[in-house]
Amino acid sequence: VTPALGIGALVFSAIAIVDGLWILGPTAEQGDYSKLLVVHPPVATIAYVAFGITALASLLYLLPRTRRREWDQLAGASAEVGVVFCALTLVTGSIWGRPVWGVWWTWDARLTATALLLVLFLGYLALRRIPAEETVKGRRCAVAALIAILDIPVDHYATSWWQTLHQGSSVDLLQPDKHIDTSHNVALLLGFIAMTLAFAWLLVVRYRVEQLEARYEQEGLAIALEARRAEGGVGTSEDAEPRVGASA
């Protein structure tokens, strides 16, 4: 499944790029800048999805009946991918904002809430790196994720709740042709498919890396213990020191 996701992501990315850059026409309001519709909204939506998966996995980890280490690992993997997509959301949005709004950045409610979301999940990733007993760390991170996720509704509805420079939703799923024409809808759909496949592939691969890291931590500890035992038995640590250093 993983190679298929990777190949699918590459193929749909290529199609989305060609369609967006060279086939999609300009709009009356924004000219060629509307072509950024293929990149920015899909990346932003995927960031929401990634953080949503983190929150869901964290909740499952917190519930005693469903508590498994894999949920914590999935939460960590999804949060890292989400942070990348959230950072890309801010950068691509800034690139879009400069020619259309005239500024790279403004303390608009939507932009501020997105920046806050990025900072919150960067904090979550930092929290995961603080050494602690496994269940304590897992519980602590799960609670942090569930607090951080509260920013997503604020971010999403910011354009409705407050008067913002950022535009409202480009697409209404109940009325697909409400805001943009079919060619732009198709381009947007291609962007969404490409980014969704890329996210799915990244999540699977990153989750495996998370498991490998956990295994490496365990084996590193076992090697260190073995070296200390050898040191105690023979009375020298000269041979043990380099091996511990090499494996840690």
Binding site: L36, R98, E219, A230, D239
Partner: protein, 78 residues
């Protein structure tokens, strides 16, 4: 149009760069754990059951020196 190209480069390029980073990290961990063919040349070679390590020197009879402890230790890992 330069902003459009920049947006596409950052969006798709950023995802691609991160993908490369994740793949390389996974490969490095596999090598360190002895799960890949290149494990023999890694810094952690010989520390896991799957890794092959260079042959240990013959152990002298008295079990006192560090060299003896090293060879014994290496052997126990394999």
């Amino acid at each position: 149009m330069n902003y459009v190209y920049a947006g596409y480069a950052v969006g798709f390029g950023g995802v691609a760069l991160y993908a490369v980073r994740v793949v390389l990290r996974g490969r490095a961990l596999r090598r360190a754990l002895g799960l890949s063919p290149g494990a023999a040349t890694s810094s952690a070679a010989g520390t896991s059951p799957g890794a092959s390590s260079p042959p240990a020197p013959p152990a002298p009879a008295p079990m006192r020196s560090g060299a003896v402890a090293g060879s014994t230790d290496a052997g126990s890992d394999r």
